[in-house]
């Protein structure tokens, strides 16, 4: 180690300060060979599309994507979005969808993790069963629930009628007032296992001595949870909630397959709306402008995500 530092100092004395970064890059040229394939793929399939989306958002592109005929319109696509009443419906749907799904998934997942933390017979099997909805495809989940909600032959409607709670089976996903909550129930079904996995892993890092010490001091179960366990899980909770929020914000399959955004936009969220604008109505410019706005929102969420993750690393002392 010491020999290496000495050598570096000698070279630095010989070279002007300005070339420091370039020299460092040159010294590490072998390292880049390892990441180069990854970076190349990312540039083609991520950096280029982002650039192209920004460009398209400033143009009016005719249906059929005849790129030669596109017309520069400046920021017209953006103003068109903000003026459209659909924008506000879709935005409020997105907020309800994201906040509702994230919050309830997290609480249910966390509660499951706590209940599963202590060992009991059948724990491993129970945990495995609870995780399954998260693994199966969202497409399969959408069809299963579409069948469960079916307005003529759905099982929930049949149970409600059977118990005398309803005269006829309710139209869960065909009615404006119930469609969004019904879809959120499906989404939570798929997502709470993720929160459960994350929080179970987090719970295992809670130092047992602390819990025992609190117990000796006379703290009851709730106090131990609130003052010892929960603060200890702050980092993993933050990361989990952020990941859930981003995933929910970006949901597509469940609303698209179950309702296609209907009835009358009641279950359209940003992503499904963008998809319909682009590939349904072929309004490529407006869809791209939406994508750019979405990109900006996600970048700011990403900032918090990175901060939460680097907070972890700092505590770890490895960074």
């Amino acid at each position: 180690m010491t020999i290496l530092t000495g050598k570096a100092e000698v070279t630095r004395r010989l070279q002007p300060d300005g070339s420091g970064v370039l020299r460092k890059i040159w010294e590490h040229r072998a390292d880049y060979a390892y990441v180069l394939p990854a970076i190349a793929v990312m540039l083609i399939v991520i950096a280029y599309p982002i650039y192209y989306t920004i460009e398209l958002s400033l143009f009016n592109t005719p249906p059929g994507l005849q790129l030669r005929d596109k017309i520069f319109v400046g920021l017209d696509n953006y103003t068109a979005i903000l003026k459209s009443p659909v924008f506000w419906t879709v935005t409020s749907n997105t907020l309800i969808w994201t906040a509702g799904s994230t919050f309830i998934s997290f609480v249910l997942g966390f509660a499951c993790a706590l209940a599963l933390h202590r060992d009991f017979a059948g724990r491993a099997i129970l945990r495995a069963v609870l995780i399954i909805p998260w693994v199966i495809s969202a497409v399969a989940a959408s069809y299963i629930w579409k069948w469960i909600y079916h307005s003529d032959f759905g099982i929930i409607g049949a149970v409600l009628v059977g118990l005398g709670l309803s005269d006829r089976p309710p139209n869960f996903i065909d009615s404006v007032s119930t469609v969004l909550p019904s879809l959120i129930v499906v989404n939570i079904w798929r997502e709470f296992p993720f929160a459960m996995i994350m929080m179970m892993a987090g719970l295992q890092t809670v130092p047992d001595q602390l819990l025992r010490a609190a117990k000796v001091d006379g703290a009851n179960a709730w106090q131990r949870f609130w003052h010892v366990t929960f603060p200890h899980l702050r980092n993993v909770s933050t990361v989990t909630i952020l990941l859930l929020a981003v995933a929910n914000f970006n949901s597509f399959i469940i609303p698209w397959i179950m309702t296609g955004g209907g009835p009358s936009n009641a279950s359209h969220i940003w992503i499904t709306h963008i998809y319909e604008l682009a590939f349904g109505r072929q309004r490529w410019g407006v869809a791209s402008a939406y994508s750019v706005l979405l990109f900006l929102i996600l970048m700011s969420l990403g900032y918090f995500y990175v901060r939460a993750l680097s907070g972890n690393e700092q505590k770890d002392g490895s960074e």
């Binding site: 933390h117 995780i131 495809s137 399969a140 069948w147 089976p169 047992d208 996600l298």
Partner: protein, 296 residues
């Protein structure tokens, strides 16, 4: 998975009762969650063994009068047109997912290793740039990638899917693998270096074998992601013979509007491979997923 069992000191009956209260609350909650989780899947299975006529009754038959495996037979019968389609979708999904998995691992292994071990300029920036990709939905990339695929003639080919699936497979693989490499002591490599191995040899001979569980977990994660992917396949493919299962099932559904037993059977068969893979290797998988987030 090592939980230290809670020990209640003997002779403290009152405290034990209170703890039992929480425990019973937890159990009741777990039963509720079990019902919420399992009932939809059970209903899928029950519907899949009904005849088309039995499925469309009100009130529904809780258990079919005449359970039948006809839907499964139809899906798996290569003589039948439905079976031909379904088996082809299944094969397409298998091919695309496997190809994506292999490519992701080949590209991600060295990259994750570099992010874990080396301190080259721009390392943090590049790593977070990779990580941030996971925040962006497929829809943002859809229009430009569609144009790109059209320009290079990949629309309606599986190549377009394999290439685009790397957009989400790769960042995830790099992130998961980096967590594994971080946990392998660097001293092992240093020892190999002292014995005369080059850095690359140390990586291939020492680190790769040790990270095998991580590579397996990452591969499965990529596979499941590709297997379940819907939106790119839905947009890029239009020819029936190329569709993957998620999109194929949708076609199947829209052509046979009332065949709910068939749809449920198809959903079940589509879920089997990933659920089996997941359950068998659950331990590695969960560890890989949570590695980064629970460090303390």
């Amino acid at each position: 998975m090592s939980t230290i069992a809670e020990t209640t000191p003997p002779g403290q009956a009152r405290r034990r009762i209170r703890i039992d209260g929480w425990r019973w609350g937890g159990r009741i909650f777990l039963v509720f969650m079990l019902l919420y989780t399992a009932l939809p899947m059970i209903w899928m299975l029950i519907t899949s063994i009904k005849s088309g006529f039995a499925a469309l009754q009100f009130p529904p038959q809780w258990w079919p009068d005449q359970p039948t495996l006809a839907s499964y037979q139809k899906l798996l019968d290569p003589q039948n047109s439905v079976g031909q389609d379904f088996l082809r979708f299944f094969w397409n999904s298998l091919f695309v997912s496997t190809a994506t998995t292999i490519l992701s691992v080949i590209v991600a292994v060295p990259a994750a290793y570099a992010f874990s071990r080396f301190t080259f300029p721009g390392r943090n920036f590049l790593f977070f740039a990779v990580l941030l990709r996971n925040m962006f939905p497929a829809v943002i990339f859809l229009v430009p990638l569609f144009i790109l695929m059209r320009a290079i003639g990949l629309v309606n080919t599986h190549g377009s899917l394999i290439l685009t699936y790397l957009t989400f497979g790769l960042p995830l693989a790099i992130w998961l693998l980096k967590g594994f490499y971080d946990n392998i002591p660097v001293q092992l490599e240093q020892a190999a270096r002292i014995d005369g191995a080059t850095r690359f040899q140390a990586f291939v001979l020492i680190v790769m074998p040790l990270s095998a569980p991580g590579i397996i977990a990452t591969a499965i994660y990529s596979f499941i992601g590709a297997w379940n992917e819907y939106i790119y396949a839905y947009t890029f493919l239009s020819k029936n013979e190329q569709l993957t299962l998620p999109v194929g099932i949708q076609r199947f559904f829209s052509e046979n509007t009332t065949d709910f037993p068939g749809l449920m059977a198809a959903s079940f068969m589509m879920s089997v491979p990933v659920v089996v893979l997941f359950l068998v290797l659950q331990r590695y998988f969960v560890r890989a997923l949570t590695e980064g987030a629970v460090k303390n």
